[in-house]
């Protein structure tokens, strides 16, 4: 890896981390606008993180060290997962053959840390949230992997960077239906993975409906800040992943400053579009009933299955 390449990789990783709270602010602002409210400042999520980090950490009296280790593990795994996603140009810090499997593994590690942290709080709410999260994530794993696999087969490459590079060389005329199937499957999975409507509602603390918020109910102060950051980073990296696999146009072919700057602008634009889309979905759709979620993920699985199955037809 040359120095400019390494710097570009480091920059795009840092970019994902830096933008993660902003994306939250963007979604909240767009949601407010869609609902005829003015909404809070775009920068409020940063202020919230800073506030939480200055507070005292409250630990349930029956909890073991696992309770405080869980946020560390969740954030660490998400941070490393972010180093696998190509953002500004088709390469990444830890890019390697088969890295999409590592990405799925790291997201699973982060999720397991959350489940165990919830168990350790000894609260019924946290257990309820963990139980629901276990169901959603168990059913989301297969469509996530199949969707990525379909793109990998199409691109003839097993690394995320290679897939992004392949999509870059495609034009509208050569766009394959497999791409459309995989993209729609992955969008559904991303909504479920990030805990957004219609699978989970990030805005509510009503125990009957919540999943992620119930899991982290006992967390406070700096540990909560780490969890919030991990959740925001996960949403950002999922959007970046969707952009890299299906809309990479504008990525820099080589790490030159000018092209990277252009790629950055376009990436910000794509991120804003993603935020607007999420806000629109969240303002117009209701959350699904718990036992409708398997059907939702079943649809994603069917789409991903079709995507992989049709790769052999389109070759």
């Amino acid at each position: 890896m040359t120095l400019p390449a390494a710097l570009a990789n480091l920059a795009q990783w840092a970019l994902l981390l830096a933008l993660a709270p902003l994306l939250r602010g963007l979604i909240q602002r767009a949601k407010a606008r869609a609902q005829n409210r003015r909404g809070a400042s775009l920068w409020r999520p940063y202020a919230e993180l800073a506030k939480l980090l200055r507070k005292q950490d409250l630990v349930p009296d029956s909890a073991s060290p696992v309770f405080r280790a869980a946020p560390l593990a969740a954030l660490a795994a998400t941070l490393v997962a972010a180093a696998l996603v190509p953002v500004l140009w088709p390469a990444a810090l830890l890019a390697s053959s088969g890295d999409f499997l590592v990405l799925v593994g790291l997201l699973a590690l982060a999720r397991l840390a959350l489940l165990l942290g919830a168990w350790d709080s000894g609260s019924a709410f946290a257990g309820m949230g963990a139980s629901r999260e276990a169901m959603v994530s168990a059913l989301a794993e297969a469509p996530l992997l199949l969707g990525l696999l379909a793109v990998a087969i199409l691109a003839g490459s097993a690394s995320l960077a290679g897939m992004a590079h392949w999509t870059l060389t495609q034009t509208f005329a050569t766009f394959s239906p497999v791409h459309a199937l995989a993209a729609s499957a992955l969008v559904l999975v991303a909504l479920a993975e990030a805990g957004r409507i219609p699978v989970d509602n990030p805005a509510t603390h009503l125990e009957l409906t919540m999943i992620h918020e119930a899991m982290v109910l006992e967390y406070s102060g700096p540990s909560l800040a780490l969890l919030e950051l991990a959740a925001a980073l996960k949403l950002t990296l999922l959007l970046a992943l969707l952009a890299a696999l299906f809309f990479p146009w504008g990525m820099a072919p080589a790490p030159t400053p000018a092209r990277l700057a252009l790629a950055l602008l376009l990436f910000l634009f794509k991120l804003a579009l993603g935020a607007a889309a999420i806000a629109l979905v969240e303002s117009t759709l209701a959350k699904l009933r718990m036992y409708q979620v398997p059907a939702f993920l079943g649809l994603a699985s069917a789409l991903a299955f079709l995507a992989v199955a049709s790769t052999s037809l389109t070759r």
């Binding site: 980090l53 200055r54 507070k55 005292q56 950490d57 409250l58 630990v59 349930p60 009296d61 029956s62 909890a63 073991s64 060290p65 696992v66 405080r68 946020p71 560390l72 954030l75 660490a76 795994a77 941070l79 390697s96 053959s97 088969g98 590592v102 593994g105 790291l106 699973a108 590690l109 397991l112 165990l116 919830a118 168990w119 350790d120 709080s121 000894g122 609260s123 019924a124 257990g127 309820m128 963990a130 139980s131 276990a134 169901m135 994530s137 168990a138 794993e141 992997l145 199949l146 696999l149 087969i153 109910l217 540990s223 800040a225 780490l226 718990m290 036992y291 991903a304 992989v308 790769t311």
Partner: protein, 663 residues
């Protein structure tokens, strides 16, 4: 080499003589220490045989009068395949033997302890015989001994009717399986001069395809039953939990692998890599076992039975990868077939490590709390921090998360499936979805296991009073956990000799590490470093400006105090997934309002849930009933009239003569 093998086997054979020392206060550590030493020496021997590939041969026929007849030759040859599985055996069994020192001392006294210390080396010896055998007779001798010795260990633990029934089912199913394997061997008899593996290999090449298919099907049925594949898995969740903990660990971790070994020996080595249909048969069996195994594990409350069901799941994954290897080989992609075979071999090794670790952990929990019911446990991480951390690591490895050995095995399997797209086998990539589903469900299952048993508050006074396991038990578990991490972060040292082994089984595959596996071996240490750095950064971020941590009560909706009963339970945790997959469980639940007839104001509610699996109810029982009915009808022939018997013997003889004439 041959001498070392002989010394190793002889040591295992003679160690039972020292078993009574386990009851002497001063010398009680001797059987354990010597067994660990013998197994470490065995591991060194196996590692050497695996890396050099020079087979060590030991002909024992001269020692036995019966073995001098042609089909009964008793020869042992340790080739690469056998050496790898012997390495697996020693690597998993040495820590188990260390653990057994304290465990057996605490749980058994007098003759039972001595007999168990005699059974352990003999059980290991029987498995080593299976792995080193190079004649049908030697293989079978070891195979039967393995079944009988493990059944003996199960009966040693108690004498309830249920235990006898479970042991009976184990013996019956194992002997039915052995009959299938024996039939597969005997199919060669008319074509091979002797039943040694070299002549079987030569005879198989000249066999008509139909006969090869029959031999493969018999081997799959026999070894599949030994591996606990669905639907011939019934014995596994009954037998594994009732054996003494070290034996449970060896049965799940090592004995099931002899079935994988047998499948590799028959399907790949003797019959040669076969048509794609064989691969698809293995894949179907593996996929069904993998998904059903993990679903049954998810619904289980008994810690040891949960682990037994999860063994079915893991053997399913191994068979999926084995099938993918056969399919890829049939599609003339030996390089990718080698990758899939590597996945199967590595996952076998991994499963031996983490499943033994988890069984030992379950034993330590049972030792500390006198129960293995998840509904009675909780809060053990604070009371048994060392055991808890090791069990957590075992769970992470079983789920296949990065930096554990489980991840490496599943990663290789995924890459093997992905390769199917380029090799012209479009079904294989779809299997990635099956494997991902299994992975997702097992994450839920083991989050449930660890969370319910080790986190939160204790659900019973026994769990509240638990104390940490003794030192040798912890040491045994720690050794297994360290191996899990080592293979998970730096798998190259194991993958390189395995690649040479895979190349020997798949004609056309180069004896080099496949490129994707090499890339992974480079990536993993970096990933470990990155994760460590990220965790350190997160820790720094949290502690830099914070005011530290303070203990406070858990929020209980304003109630004065949270009781353990207000926690979530393991059954509640798995409820959503059990509802989604209700068709698989077909749970038989009954709610009774007491006193009876009181519909609106019951004094109590009784809840029964019957935990027999739907297989037992809708597959085995009707089959057994049909056989019993048929036998009863056949029993009418038994009139007690001698003339009738003579007539039927005469008729049978005539029929046989006619048949011989026609054939």
């Amino acid at each position: 080499m041959a001498l070392a093998l002989a010394a190793f086997l002889l040591a295992l054979l003679l160690l039972p003589l020292l078993a009574p020392l386990a009851n002497r206060p001063r010398l009680c550590a001797v059987p354990s220490a010597l067994l660990v030493l013998a197994l470490l020496a065995g591991a060194a021997l196996a590692a050497r045989a695996l890396s050099t590939g020079a087979p060590a041969t030991l002909d024992l026929s001269a020692w036995s009068p019966v073995a001098q007849a042609a089909p009964f030759a008793f020869t042992l040859t340790l080739d690469r395949l056998g050496a790898f599985f012997l390495l697996l055996l020693c690597a998993a069994a040495a820590p188990v033997a260390l653990y057994a020192h304290a465990y057996l001392q605490r749980h058994y006294a007098g003759w039972r302890r001595a007999v168990l210390w005699a059974l352990l080396p003999l059980f290991l010896l029987s498995m080593a015989l299976v792995l080193a055998a190079s004649t049908g007779f030697a293989f079978f001798f070891g195979w039967e001994l393995m079944t009988l010795l493990s059944a003996a260990a199960m009966l040693l633990d108690g004498d309830s009717p249920e235990r006898r029934h479970n042991t009976y089912i184990y013996l019956v199913m194992m002997h039915a399986a052995a009959a299938c394997v024996l039939a597969a061997f005997l199919l060669f008899l008319s074509r091979a001069p002797a039943l040694d593996f070299a002549s079987l290999r030569a005879a198989a090449a000249a066999m008509p395809p139909a006969l090869r298919n029959v031999a493969f099907a018999l081997a799959l049925l026999g070894f599949g039953a030994k591996a606990g594949l669905v639907p011939v898995h019934l014995w596994l969740p009954k037998a594994h939990p009732i054996a003494p903990t070290p034996v449970s660990a060896l049965m799940s971790g090592v004995m099931l692998k002899t079935a994988v070994y047998g499948m590799l020996r028959f399907g790949f080595d003797l019959l040669g890599p076969g048509p794609a249909a064989w691969g698809y048969a293995l894949i179907a069996a593996g996929a069904v076992s993998g998904v059903l195994g993990v679903l049954y594990a998810l619904g289980e409350n008994d810690l040891k039975r949960l682990l037994a069901y999860s063994s079915i799941e893991n053997l399913g994954i191994i068979f999926l990868a084995l099938g993918a290897a056969l399919v890829l080989q049939a599609h003339h992609a030996p390089v990718w077939a080698a990758l899939a075979l590597l996945a199967a071999l590595l996952h076998s090794f991994n499963h031996a490590l983490f499943k033994s670790l988890l069984f030992l952990g379950a034993g330590a929990v049972g030792d500390a709390t006198h129960t293995v019911a998840l509904s009675e446990l909780g809060g053990l991480q604070r009371r048994m921090p060392f055991t808890g951390a090791l069990v957590l690591l075992g769970c992470l490895a079983l789920v296949g998360l990065p930096l554990t050995n489980g991840f490496v095995g599943e990663w290789l399997a995924f890459r093997g499936f992905l390769a199917g797209a380029a090799a012209g086998a479009p079904v294989l990539p779809l299997l990635a979805g099956v494997l991902a589903l299994i992975g997702g469900l097992s994450a839920a299952c083991f989050a449930n296991l660890y969370g319910a048993a080790f986190l939160g508050r204790p659900r019973s006074p026994a769990a509240a009073a638990a104390v940490e396991a003794p030192r040798t038990m912890r040491a045994g578990m720690a050794a297994l956990a360290a191996l899990c991490l080592l293979v998970g972060i730096a798998p190259g040292f194991l993958l390189r000799p395995l690649a040479r082994l895979a190349a020997g089984l798949l004609p056309g595959a180069p004896p080099l590490l496949p490129a994707p596996a090499a890339a992974l071996a480079v990536l993993l240490p970096r990933l470990a470093l990155a994760l460590a750095l990220a965790a350190a950064a997160a820790l720094a971020l949290r502690s830099r400006r914070s005011l530290g941590a303070r203990r406070s009560p858990t929020w209980a909706c304003g109630q004065p105090a949270l009781t353990p009963r207000m926690q979530y339970t393991a059954a509640a945790f798995s409820e959503p997934l059990r509802t989604v997959f209700a068709r698989v469980y077909r749970a038989d639940r009954r709610l009774e309002l007491l006193p009876q007839g009181e519909a609106w104001f019951p004094a109590a509610v009784a809840y029964h849930s019957i935990r027999t699996t739907s297989f037992e109810r809708s597959f085995y029982r009707p089959a057994v009933q049909a056989i019993v009915n048929f036998a009863r009808r056949l029993g009418r022939l038994q009139t007690g009239n001698v003339q009738m018997y003579l007539a039927s013997i005469f008729l049978a003889l005539i029929a046989l003569l006619v048949l011989m004439r026609l054939a």
